[in-house]
Subunit: 291 residues, 2 copies
């Protein structure tokens, strides 16, 4: 059932994304690069998480569509820029060439800049959202992806190469680099659905643990995954001398910690008093995914 | 009098900018790079234009401060990314090393990404603006600086290197690359001040001509300016085989065209029926500046 739910949402998101992008009046050579970046078949887990949270409260789907698309644009922009030669220097992503390899660096920088900007445009021009809802959404996105969020995380991540981090430092980087946007996704979904402030708070904590689970599993896959499944070379973090949970804690302890955070997340879900078992199923997927 | 006005605004903007940036809780090494990028002593002409337009209608200054700061952040981000090796590859800007030379490329990419994001954050979290005003401002900014605005202009500009453009093509690039954000500055200033829709339209046209005047003067300076004054090597456009107005039209015809656009701008100012002679003085400065 969860598989069907995810597939349905992926297909809906991909269709809506194409509609949003294809209406842009831009040179076709540039459109090709934008579509390449978005068609790479990401799992769209972040916007699905946002939509599932929203649906715990509200069932008219229109209101959540633009924030969900914007979230995926912000996520995609961050991957494009992180992959650049001056940053993580990755040639492959989701099993395909990264955009600066397939096109060139200037295109990758501009497509990233443009997706970030378009995320804010799609929300600010949405016909489904009230002004207050747009402002809340844009505030959450800009804080989560900005200097005190994702950008700080990427800065610290780059500085941490070739250094041994402790668990606290590693947590901090991941909370900023991937956690903040996951939490924003959940908060926006809850707020737009009409959650009470205490519910938003519990779900925000759920998101905090979910983000950590996601990252630990990412690190576990990097040491034990299958390149054909994860779409990039296994051991690429180690090759870049990046600290990972299995490296700091050992693989078994990393798995134990992931399970402990999964329990914390379940507690926070209970605390929120919502009935949306799909969130728990997504938690399982985040924690046990093989790619 | 206009000099005093500009100096006063520059000083106000610079002080407010430092307040906004220094409250960020980020690693000091990263803060240094952000401050370097913003302290480079830009002329702040765009936010001053926005503020002057706003003051034609309204004299309580608080409402325009955050949009003005956000505009300068967007402008600065665009310069940082345009200067990158993969883009225009410029080592100097405003007489100082560009940020990727002074620090490194990763820092330049991240500071640019962060300033763009922070611009949206500063507006969406402003305590001086109503939700509707925030949405209008964010919509104008995202459209002007996005895929159909500044980003398209930079894409076309890069593609046009080593090609001979005609006047129409050159106009299109500049309307997108620099014109759209100048027009957004004026429209936001007028809207927040309380202009009527016909006034916003006339002032938008004023901004269109102002943007062209700005760009033609930029090109004229590049062939006839003084490096010590303009802060980058004279002839750098020609060295990169970029089309310029003097190259396409000849220097005298470029000057004549600039003056003709200045007249068009004055007509649109009259049409708007506002009394803000500072806008006309700014037009003169845009058209006759030596740096």
């Amino acid at each position: 059932m969860i598989d069907q739910y995810i597939e349905h949402k992926q297909s809906e998101l991909n269709n809506r994304m194409l509609v949003e992008l294809k209406q842009l009046n831009i040179p076709s050579s540039f459109m090709e690069a934008i579509l390449y970046s978005m068609e790479a078949g990401g799992k769209r887990l972040r916007p699905i998480l946002m939509m599932a949270t929203y649906e715990a409260f509200h069932h008219e789907p229109e209101k959540i569509v633009h924030p969900a698309l914007a979230l995926e644009m912000i996520h995609t922009y961050s991957l494009i820029h992180d992959d650049l030669p001056a940053m993580d220097d990755d040639d492959f992503r989701r099993g395909r060439e990264t955009i600066h390899k397939k096109f060139d660096e200037a295109t990758a920088i501009l497509v990233g800049d443009g997706l970030l900007t378009y995320a804010f445009q799609v929300v600010s021009t949405s016909s489904f959202l009230e002004a207050e809802e747009k402002v809340y959404t844009l505030k959450q996105f800009s804080q989560a992806s900005g200097f005190e969020g994702m950008i700080a995380g990427q800065h610290l991540d780059l500085k941490a190469e070739n250094k041994h981090l402790n668990e606290h430092e590693l947590n901090e980087i991941h909370q900023l680099k991937t956690g903040a946007l996951i939490r924003a996704a959940i908060k926006i979904g809850a707020y737009l659905g009409g959650a009470t402030p205490p519910q938003i708070e519990s779900l925000d904590d759920f998101g905090k643990y979910l983000g950590l689970v996601f990252q630990i599993q990412d690190d576990i896959l990097d040491v034990s995954g299958d390149m054909a499944v994860i779409g990039k070379p296994v051991g690429s973090d180690e090759a870049k001398n990046k600290s990972t949970y299995p490296q700091i804690l050992g693989l078994n302890e990393a798995i134990r910690m992931k399970e402990s955070y999964m329990n914390e997340a379940r507690n926070k879900y209970e605390e929120s008093k919502i009935e949306q078992p799909i969130l728990l199923e997504l938690l399982d997927i985040f924690g046990n995914r093989q790619s």
